[in-house]
Symmetry: C2
Subunit: 145 residues, 2 copies
DNA sequence: CTGGCTGCAAAACTTTTGCAGATTG
DNA sequence: CAATCTGCAAAAGTTTTGCAGCCAG
């Protein structure tokens, strides 16, 4: 089911601002926060109220259309969410992020942590930080700055 | 090496506000953000400028004395950091958090992700959310609200 | 003593709220 | 058309900056 259908089924309208924001999110490679989205759209000549950006992101997030990503510097951004668990790896140089699949590998760890801490684990947050292929190549090519 | 020595070696002074804040952090069970720390200390009759709290936390974090914790609702708080990698499990009911050890179990996963994404992994963020023993007991006792 | 540190005030920035008017279904 | 949605304005909340005076080493 595409997001427009999902939105409609949940009783929401397909407005122009929502279309614009989703279109941007769909192509986003880096985590975007509300003000960044507002700024980028404005640079493209699309002027939305900041408030609408906040409200739209809140809605999309509640509907599970986008995920929150925690950046190494503590800021929080959004990225489009595919289904299932959402784990991202973020490039520390260019911020480009991609999703990777699978929390299957974590079952053992979850077991161990439950035994060790006596907490009952119900969810987890897992992100990796590193270098994307492009930035690795740049560094190897000698762009060592 | 204790934090006071570490602070001194790094060329910083051991001021009263810093002592107060570290004393609070050392006993913190839940992630605390700057304003919360300011509020708690004020409730204890200790009045610091909000600014000092921000600057002190920034310093402690830079020195690795405290860690950032990402809460399920997207807010960021601080907790004391023991050494090595800092992984926390946070209670979704009372926010109490404890550290758990070991990223050894993640080696395989890191390998797989590196192959899958072609990113070079250098760091990771791993947190669990769940129920602490106390909150589990409360729920079982019938406090099902 | 003296350079770093605190805390005030104020500015800058981010996020939320209330409401009139535009827009979607 | 009617209810939802947008966007402005303004408020509320958070974080940063500048600076005078204080204090740890």
């Amino acid at each position: 089911m595409d997001w427009q259908t999902l939105l409609a089924k949940a009783g929401y309208r397909l407005s122009e601002p929502r279309k614009r924001i989703m279109k941007l999110m769909e192509t986003a490679e880096k985590p975007l926060n509300p003000l960044a989205i507002h700024r980028i759209l404005r640079e493209q000549g699309i002027h939305l109220g900041v408030v609408s950006v906040y409200r739209t992101l809140e809605l999309f997030f509640a509907l599970g259309l986008i995920s929150q990503v925690f950046q190494a510097d503590g800021l929080v951004g959004y990225l489009p969410a595919s289904f299932g668990h959402h784990h991202f790896i973020v490039c520390q140089k260019c911020q480009k992020a991609v999703e990777f699949s699978g929390s299957e590998d974590m079952r053992e760890l979850v077991q161990r942590v439950q035994t060790e801490t006596r907490y009952q684990v119900s969810d987890h947050l897992l992100q990796f930080y590193g270098l994307c292929p492009e930035c690795q190549a740049l560094l190897e090519a000698g762009g060592n700055s």
